[in-house]
């Protein structure tokens, strides 16, 4: 096998970890609340800025900066739900998409207003690991491992805890669960917080690999939605697998053609797949 192709495959695998983590939180929110936060990656951006400012400017240790970012974005998630989603929950689904789209505009321009359009880097450079003949980015490997851990943790939480069971039950049937004494309102609230926290976690991992700027959501947002839909909106395992399929297309396509063209392929695949298997590639 060509060494560069191998490198592309490994790179795709690691990119898949990051994309999977991004898709995880969005999928959780969609599965439980039945709402698409089109501003999800903009929340990740807020987390990235938090880490950047705390770590690079105020000298807070990186781990503490990460914890602060996760908490802050979790609170943001709660605020998004209470202030924007709750008033439009009864409306047509498209209005919910539009309301969070308004927030997307707001977050992009407000961060431009505050920080300008400069690309900012936390300046942490982890040395790449040599695996045989290829170099593997340590930041990506770390992101990949933590994404897997995060997914595993979420899975255990949903399967093993009382709260997790209640969340899954609401996702299954919201009318009946209300009668069983589970309040959808508080479950939605908690889920939004967890979804926000996952966005914060993704922010901590992305900030090690990419510069942060107000429009970073434009490069990650669309592909994240496509992954969620491809895996079956709300189907977390499907979303996880779809992330790796998409990242392979992007990485290997980038090896053969150009990176933009590989994204074109990924989006075309999405369009075809939604027609062939609208419930996601892993639906039964």
């Amino acid at each position: 096998m060509d060494i560069f192709l191998l490198e592309a495959v490994v790179d795709g695998l690691l990119l898949g970890g990051v994309l999977a983590l991004l898709a995880l939180g969005l999928n959780l929110i969609f599965g439980v609340i039945d709402v698409v936060w089109i501003c999800y990656v903009e929340l990740v951006m807020c987390g990235m800025y938090t880490v950047y400012w705390l770590y690079s400017y105020f000298g807070v240790p990186f781990i503490l900066a990460c914890i602060a970012a996760i908490l802050l974005v979790a609170v943001l998630g709660l605020a998004v739900h209470r202030l924007i989603i709750e008033p439009v929950l009864g409306f047509a689904p498209i209005n919910q998409l539009l309301a969070t789209g308004g927030l997307l505009f707001f977050l992009q321009s407000f961060t431009t207003l505050l920080f300008g359009t400069d690309f900012r880097n936390v300046g942490i450079h982890l040395a790449p690991i040599e695996l045989g003949e290829i170099d593997v980015s340590k930041a990506r490997l770390l992101a990949f491992a933590i994404a897997l851990l995060g997914a595993g943790g979420l899975y255990l939480f949903l399967k093993r805890t009382y709260l997790g069971t209640a969340i899954r039950a609401i996702a299954e049937d919201r009318e009946v669960m209300g009668l069983m004494g589970v309040s959808p309102r508080s479950i939605y609230f908690i889920t939004s917080g967890i979804g926000g926290g996952l966005a914060g976690l993704a922010a901590c991992l992305l900030v090690l690999q990419y510069d942060v700027h107000p429009f970073i959501g434009n490069s990650f947002g669309p592909i994240t939605f496509m992954i969620c839909v491809l895996g079956g909106l709300g189907n977390m395992i499907g979303g996880f697998a779809a992330a790796f399929i998409m990242s392979q297309i992007i990485a290997v396509g980038g090896y053969y053609f150009s990176i933009e063209f590989s994204y074109v392929l990924a989006f075309l695949l999405f369009i075809v797949m939604i027609f062939v298997r609208p419930q996601g590639i892993f639906s039964r």
């Binding site: 539009l98 308004g102 505009f105 707001f106 321009s109 207003l113 359009t117 434009n218 989006f267 939604i274």
Partner: protein, 331 residues
């Protein structure tokens, strides 16, 4: 003659007089409002019937780039290039619309499919950087003449934009008063019931999609001809597609002038905030814009024009879906 027709004629005369009294800057704003108002009107042809496209940037991009490329590389006049672009956009509308409607891809699934389509166009334009100039954009070869559809004077372009905008309103009105509207409203409320009532759901949906795609492409062509520069992000970026949706909704997509009011509102707001804050506060305008959009969706999803009509017609009740599309009186 009814009051409405008189008001319409008076309005048109006033619009026709604008170039004689307005300064260059005001004329520039007016041209933008007309072209974007036309594009938003084209979007609302689909949007008001529940076909919420998040990807009109795809059609806009085709319309903007195809005539420009044909002109720059083959010196083909935009008079032929623009129809080619519109035809390609229509083809794209069919390619995405037919399977979507056939397989009932609706709601946010339809929004995401169209969003993916706009990404395909955007990234293809960037990827073909040897031809299109990529993210840096492309400047039209300048030649002020009717053949090139380029003019040194803004007033000529104002006249063209005015005519095209009015044509857009006529198309909107024809769709609104035609038999298709009843069918489409029935479809957007209950597709299966409409189909069992003998309505060809597929054909009606495809028809508005194709018209909407063609008009949006025309709007894109006009923008390029006017500015003489085109850039993938400006015509096909996610932000543009979202902006189209928001402005149409802010103005009110269920009424004839709603989308144009949306264009007027957003462009004037943007310009005044820009003047107010200056370039030191880039982003200030869009920050306020974003907040307003959220408030619009939450508190008045029927838009500005819908709200005014609602207030004058009857006391405003809740903001349910039926209110979003107030019936326009038949002539």
């Amino acid at each position: 003659m009814s009051k409405g027709v008189l008001a319409g004629i008076a309005g048109l005369i006033a619009l026709a007089l604008v170039p004689f009294v307005a300064a260059d800057y005001a004329l520039h704003i007016a041209i933008q409002i007309l072209i974007w108002g036309f594009i938003y009107t084209a979007w609302s042809l689909m949007g008001r019937f529940g076909l919420t496209s998040f990807g009109h940037g795809a059609f806009l991009g085709i319309g903007a780039y195809v005539p420009a490329l044909l002109w720059n590389y083959y010196s083909l006049t935009p008079w032929l290039g623009i129809p080619v672009g519109m035809a390609l956009a229509m083809l794209m509308g069919v390619l995405i619309g037919y399977p979507s409607f056939r397989l009932r891809v609706v709601g946010h699934y339809f929004a995401l499919v169209t969003l993916a389509l706009s990404q395909v166009v955007l990234l293809s334009l960037v990827a073909a950087r040897e031809v299109t100039g990529g993210s840096l954009g492309m400047t039209l070869n300048v030649k002020h003449s009717w053949i090139a559809l380029q003019f040194g004077q803004k007033s000529v372009f104002y006249a063209i934009a005015l005519v095209v905008w009015m044509a857009g309103l006529v198309v909107w009105w024809r769709v609104d008063t035609g038999i298709g509207r009843v069918a489409l409203e029935a479809i957007s409320e209950d597709e299966i019931a409409a189909a069992s009532g003998g309505i060809n759901v597929m054909r009606e949906k495809l028809r508005v999609t194709v018209i909407s795609a063609a008009l949006t492409a025309l709007g894109g062509s006009l923008l390029t001809q006017y500015i003489q520069y085109v850039n993938p992000d400006v015509v096909s970026g996610v932000a543009v597609s979202l902006q189209i949706v928001f402005a149409a909704i802010a103005g009110g997509m269920g009424t004839l002038l709603g989308p144009t009011v949306g264009a007027f509102f957003t462009i004037v707001l943007n310009e005044s905030l820009r003047i107010l804050f200056g370039i030191h506060f880039i982003g200030a305008a869009n920050t306020i814009y974003g907040i307003l959009l959220i408030l619009f969706v939450i508190f008045m999803p029927q838009g500005i024009v819908g709200l005014i009509e609602g207030m004058s017609a009857r006391s405003v009740r809740g903001v349910d879906e039926e209110e979003a599309a107030p019936a326009v009186p038949k002539p």
